[in-house]
């Protein structure tokens, strides 16, 4: 509250000046949003954007260096890396967004229920999440895909489930402190139902940690998918996934054809970076206290 505090309340600005305000206030967030929307656009319009067919092989172009046909080189089977990366955006973003949304959504719901209902319910759910957390994320995802079989849908589920306990625990502890807040007591004093209190007063205030967690996990889901695909349990061949493009070539071609490692790695880093920037800005932008 260092600047002049407007006591008149914010006058609703026009959409344009609102946008301009956001750009000036959160330049990094806007950068993150641009990065993310580029990838989303690439995923949607992959068929039109990719210069070459991502599946067609060409023995003569095997391990071709980046040139004017293969902008980012070609892999061992002579498939265009650039086109595969564009098409890979579909799979990778579907896995990352799908798993993060499902994991955070279910986790938040479980955490809210635990913090709110408490008692035996909370005790049992907490022990279950502890057991889940004791297993490494990858191991659990492995077991789940192994039992469900490899497919895009199962990959998303396998990556989403291990995210649930982390989110649930963070939200639960947040809820436990929020429900003791005097404004929650004030709502009780007016006779508001517990459910409405949870939805109106508790849930919106768990948003900040939830967004931070979700964006942080977005990156790790891409990497988990990479590991799963590398082990043959992720998205099956020949569909291009960034993770598998990186992990398969990292082992064999890092010396002989580094472009097979560099470009997928760059793309993954960029998305993780973009999602973190966007998440931080989103957290601030959704908090009225940050708006002065």
């Amino acid at each position: 509250m260092s600047t002049t505090v407007s006591t008149d309340g914010p006058i609703t600005p026009s959409a344009m000046s609102d946008l301009w305000y956001m750009i000036r206030r959160y330049p990094l967030g806007v950068a993150g949003a641009i990065i993310m929307s580029l990838f989303v656009l690439a995923a949607i319009f992959a068929d039109y954007l990719a210069p070459l067919d991502p599946f067609s092989t060409n023995a003569r172009a095997s391990l071709a260096r980046p040139n004017d046909v293969y902008l980012m080189g070609a892999d061992m089977m002579g498939r265009d890396v650039f086109s595969r990366l564009i098409h890979g955006a579909r799979i990778s973003l579907a896995v990352a967004l799908g798993a993060t949304l499902i994991g955070s959504g279910v986790g938040a719901a479980v955490g809210l229920a635990c913090g709110y209902i408490g008692g035996w319910f909370d005790l049992i759910v907490q022990r279950v999440t502890e057991v889940m957390q004791a297993l490494p994320l990858l191991v659990m995802a492995l077991v789940i895909t192994a039992s469900l079989g490899p497919s895009l849908r199962n990959t998303i589920i396998a990556i989403a489930i291990p995210l649930i306990p982390t989110v649930a625990r963070v939200i639960r502890s947040n809820v436990l402190s929020l429900r003791e807040m005097p404004y929650v007591e004030a709502a009780k004093a007016t006779g508001m139902s517990e459910f409405r209190i949870a939805v109106i007063h508790v849930m919106p205030n768990t948003l900040a940690p939830l967004i931070v967690l979700a964006t942080a996990q977005l990156g790790s889901t891409i990497l988990t998918e990479a590991s799963l695909s590398f082990l043959g349990l992720g998205v099956p061949e020949p569909y291009p996934s960034w993770g598998r493009m990186l992990s398969e070539s990292a082992a064999e071609y890092v010396r002989t054809a580094p472009w097979l490692v560099i470009f997928p790695g760059l793309v993954i880093s960029l998305v993780v970076f973009g999602s973190n920037l966007l998440g931080d800005a989103l957290r601030d932008a959704l908090d009225p206290r940050q708006r002065g």
Binding site: T7, D8, A186, A187, A189, P288
Partner: protein, 322 residues
């Protein structure tokens, strides 16, 4: 007293169980409120004073049934409310509201002030949205805020203004009784006076009753009609304001009053210092709770708990020696 008091509390107790171990067995109780009896008439303010941890805030919350009492009875206009269910409690909640101490955490940071004040109206389905907005605007005006501030978020207000928002929220349903739990303790002294005066004006206009909880004796003396002094979960002295401040009878009250800072450095004061700390409410001392710190304590005080007895009309003291 011929009239039925608005709030009538009898032998109220609240023990918080202390649970330990895997089976969460109860190993003891915190005796937060240990047999408290008082009544408040319409348009009257009862000041409830005591050190921190003596259970005064718990009393306020139990009276509103934000915390369930362990035992005892609470009557609102003659009707017992301790056994009412949620739905039966709802209409009564319109009559009883609360204002909290901390102006920062008592307002949801994500809601606009106008929505905060209008929320009780919404919960009870009062009027349509337009009607509610007009009512909220009127409430804002009544507590000395501008209608334009309805669109502001809590962080855009100062502490005193936030407390006004809290008061407006408490007034929204036109209650007869408000628990004011240290409503000015977190404010600057100059702002304290404004808020106190606002509360007193509102009382005159709307015939409000307050349970005014505070540790600040000067504030309590200013606003209250009657005062109850609490020590470790029990009321030790209960009298009208003038009597209590002019002739305190309980040794604890005496010591409390002696500890009030006087705005005159030349005045010499008789020191009745109370040594030591408040004993643990988990294992309160036997007999009179105050005896370990009382300079008049006798053998009897260590064994037998004194009950409140009337020593003059409207003046009750719980002490063996009076």
């Amino acid at each position: 007293m011929a009239q039925t008091p608005l709030i009538d509390v009898t032998d109220l107790r609240k023990y918080f169980p202390i649970r330990k171990g895997l089976l969460r067995r109860t190993v003891g109780n915190v005796h937060a409120v240990d047999g408290v009896t008082f009544s408040i008439n319409a348009g009257e303010t009862l000041g409830l004073v005591g050190e921190s941890g003596c259970g005064k805030s718990t009393v306020g919350r139990v009276v509103l049934r934000l915390i369930e009492p362990t035992s005892g009875d609470i009557k609102v206009t003659g009707r017992s409310i301790v056994n009412l269910g949620r739905d039966e409690m709802r209409p009564l909640r319109r009559q009883m509201q609360i204002v909290f101490q901390d102006p920062f955490s008592s307002l949801n940071p994500r809601m606009r002030a106008g929505d905060i004040v209008g929320e009780p109206l919404k919960v009870h389905g009062v009027g349509d949205p337009k009607d509610r907005e007009a009512r909220v605007a009127a409430l804002f005006a009544r507590v000395g805020l501008r209608a334009a501030q309805m669109r502001s978020f809590p962080h855009q207000f100062s502490g005193g203004q936030r407390q006004r928002v809290s008061i407006a929220r408490a007034l929204a349903l036109d209650p007869g009784f408000i628990v004011a739990d240290e409503p000015v303790s977190a404010l600057d002294v100059s702002i304290q006076a404004q808020v106190i005066n606002l509360l007193m004006d509102l009382q005159r206009e709307m015939n409000l009753s307050y349970l005014f909880i505070s540790h600040n004796l000067a504030v309590v003396e200013h606003i209250s009609h009657r005062v109850a002094v609490m020590y470790l979960g029990r009321i030790v002295e209960y009298a009208d304001k003038k009597t209590l401040f002019a002739s305190p009878q309980h040794p604890y009250t005496e010591a409390l009053l002696a500890a009030v800072p006087l705005p005159d450095p030349t005045l010499k004061r008789t020191k009745h210092r109370v040594d030591g700390d408040v004993p643990s409410p988990i294992k309160p001392p036997p007999g009179c709770h105050f005896h370990p710190r009382c300079r008049y304590a006798e053998a009897r005080c260590k064994v037998e708990a004194p009950v409140l007895k009337t020593i003059a009309p409207g003046h009750e003291v719980a002490c063996h020696l009076r």
